[in-house]
Point group: C2
Chain length 426, copies 2
């Protein structure tokens, strides 16, 4: 029975600097998140939530993806929603949640209002994202299985932790802010597949920063509302697991394919082999059986369907399309002659010996040669390789010039939150 | 296993008018709520939440208790918090929640923005309050016992239902708005005794109207997020009880004493006997044993302690103080000589044969006469008597002139929401 409030309070008020490798991963997630947010700004849910907030007008404290300004809380709501609209942002498997979309919108909006420099932004972002993962580990799989959207619930706690770090709140107020965020933290998996899913990320970001702003004004809340007998853990199927003190953030994973997460390991195996359709006689993909009911549409006729189809996604790769690009998963490509032909080369099989993050590919080439490839999304990834891939993804989403300019900005210790904001309104 | 979404959707989109007696009770609750909100506007939690919202500026769509204007969602947040700050607002025992503070702030703010006439305001308010009670019955005692603050959770559903009624949303959008409110609905009893408790009422009001505003803009949400397999009921210890189709709102109860609810039946027995301290030799109060650990402080030395003290509250009544007035429960009166002397006449005993809403008083007068009185808060109350008492309470809180003017306004079918708003900024 771990008490999470003192654990997170120590993390937030620690005078130890965030280790450099953790900061580096945090900057990578910031780049990835910015790319997702800028690319998602015109999605229908993004337009609706932004329009509602802009109709409310309000102090122009922080910028919105897609343009316009709003109070910090409202900007966190919009930018959390927008950056999760494409479902292309980062994931952490320790708790199964999306740390960036729940935490970074709150940090960036508050940092912009306070004209914070990038090093402090990275520090608060790393603490907030780390806190969201640890809160999620503390809540445990039972919380997620019960129906709670971890991104929304653990995310609100993380957003509160990160913004409390940015404000430098003392211990007693950090605990109260976490407690107050706990009474506001909410989000149901029942909205998966609807606009409600990205909105859940937005409400996490906005609830976290709202709780911190109130406590910073003198609002007095129960500092034990996460852990106490009627606290968030007790009421939300929490397991009270010990999250440990090792940094979790470096294990965050970025998506490199604009489709269902279940397809990613398979696409990685294909990428490792550098094949083209004309060379291939037959392909057999083995994956964890759970995915067969999630993303194994055999012959989809839409781009959305292609995002949930092993055969189509592999066929897109075999015919030379870049699966990092949103436009690759279009209705037209899903039914194009070469993709449909390449799809016929692929057989998909469930394999209980694989984890959910693994895939194995067997290829018979037309020249009779047999090739195999295996990928595990959970395997450690070299930082340089990760950086290159996130950069390539940002280029695919935003174009080379914008992506390169973002990368320089996020790497600079002289940059300020306002410089990032300028990029967000593009 | 009752499905609450179709049940509430039918209620919201019904073309039947709300029955006149239900409307009458609703108007009474509006008067009571306005009095609580105006009287609570300077409480510390009220000042903090209002200051935060005013710092955000924003469209001047709806008025705040205590002055200032804000967007509808923000006004609902502030006015829900402010009107619950004194904990003097109405209660419904069918689900154990405070219907007015969660629902009326949302209705009034949206009605003011839309320049709605009072009859439509009363219609939407009655539907919303009724929906909150029925949602609470559907969730059941298990939800409350688990640690959820019914005012906050069922209240958000009620606020969504009432504002959907005001906007005249069609069936499909009402169901989506209820579903979207379900992913935002939150509030823990862990914050009882802190500023978090009234804030929970504010977040209910604001979450409900926010969900409706988004759906009215075209936001698409899961319409089954209350009832579905991972819906709010399943994730929040819901019992799926059938709330039935009889109107629950008429059974709402207004507080007539500015102290813990556990003292009210006892104060009613005293009021029935018209006694003064000098006539009394001894008093024995019998109450349900549960209250003995809640509000039986034998000799408190503060006004706050007096609110949780049978002996002190009865002594205040015996010495002629009006227990409807907030100022009666002051530090000075709690230790005044006549109150301390009168307190010594009172003995308190637990009695398992009484319900939690009942109290029995036995008085031995100095002249040897014995008197008894019994009160049951659950017993039906004559509408004329209720009206007189709510009016007297409003007078005690606001003064006769303001109370009379409010009463006239709320009784008038020619009044508009804006007229009520003018009174709220006093």
């Amino acid at each position: 029975m771990t008490q999470i409030t003192p654990h997170l309070t120590r993390l937030v008020t620690s005078s130890d600097p965030v280790p450099a490798p953790v900061q580096a991963v945090c900057r990578l997630s910031m780049l990835d998140w910015m790319a997702c947010g800028i690319a998602g700004a015109s999605e229908p849910v993004s337009r609706i939530v932004r329009a509602q907030v802009l109709e409310e007008e309000g102090a122009r404290q922080a910028v919105l993806f897609g343009g316009g300004r709003a109070p910090v809380r409202a900007a966190a709501l919009v930018n959390g929603t927008v950056s999760h609209a494409l479902d292309y942002d980062d994931t952490h498997f320790a708790h199964i949640g999306h740390p960036s979309v729940a935490v970074l919108p709150a940090i960036l909006a508050l940092a912009e209002q306070r004209d914070t420099g990038l090093p402090e932004v990275v520090d608060a972002a790393a603490i907030g994202m780390e806190a969201s993962v640890r809160a999620g580990i503390w809540l445990g799989r039972a919380h997620y299985q019960a129906g709670f959207h971890m991104t929304a619930t653990a995310g609100a706690i993380g957003a509160a932790a990160g913004t409390a770090r940015l404000l430098g709140l003392p211990d007693a107020q950090v605990a109260q802010a976490l407690g107050l965020a706990a009474t506001r933290a909410a989000g149901l998996k029942a909205h998966f597949g609807t606009m409600g899913k990205p909105w859940n990320a937005g409400i996490a970001a906005s609830s976290g920063v709202e709780a911190v702003q109130l406590v910073a004004r003198g609002f007095e809340a129960n500092p034990d509302a996460l852990d106490g007998p009627h606290g968030f853990g007790a009421t939300h199927f929490g397991e009270s697991n010990d999250p440990g003190i090792d940094w979790q953030l470096p294990q965050v994973r970025h998506k490199f394919h604009a489709c269902c997460h279940g397809l990613h390991a398979a696409l990685e195996t294909l990428g490792a082999l550098d094949l083209a359709a004309p060379e291939v006689a037959a392909i057999t993909l083995r994956t964890h059986p759970r995915w067969l009911t999630v993303c194994n549409q055999p012959a989809p006729t839409t781009g959305l369907g292609a995002k949930f189809s092993y055969r189509t996604a592999l066929a897109l790769g075999l015919t030379g399309r870049d699966t990092a690009r949103l436009s690759t998963f279009s209705d037209a490509l899903a039914v194009s002659a070469d993709v449909v032909a390449a799809r016929e080369l692929v057989t998909v099989m469930g394999d209980e010996s694989l984890t959910e993050e693994q895939a194995a590919l067997e290829v018979l080439r037309r020249d009779g040669q047999r090739l195999t490839a295996f990928h595990d999304l959970d395997a450690p990834v070299d930082m340089a390789a990760r950086t290159d891939r996130v950069q390539a993804k940002a280029s695919a989403l935003l174009g080379d010039e914008t992506a390169a300019s973002l990368r320089r900005l996020i790497a600079s210790d002289r940059a300020r939150a306002a410089d990032l904001a300028t990029q967000m309104e593009v």
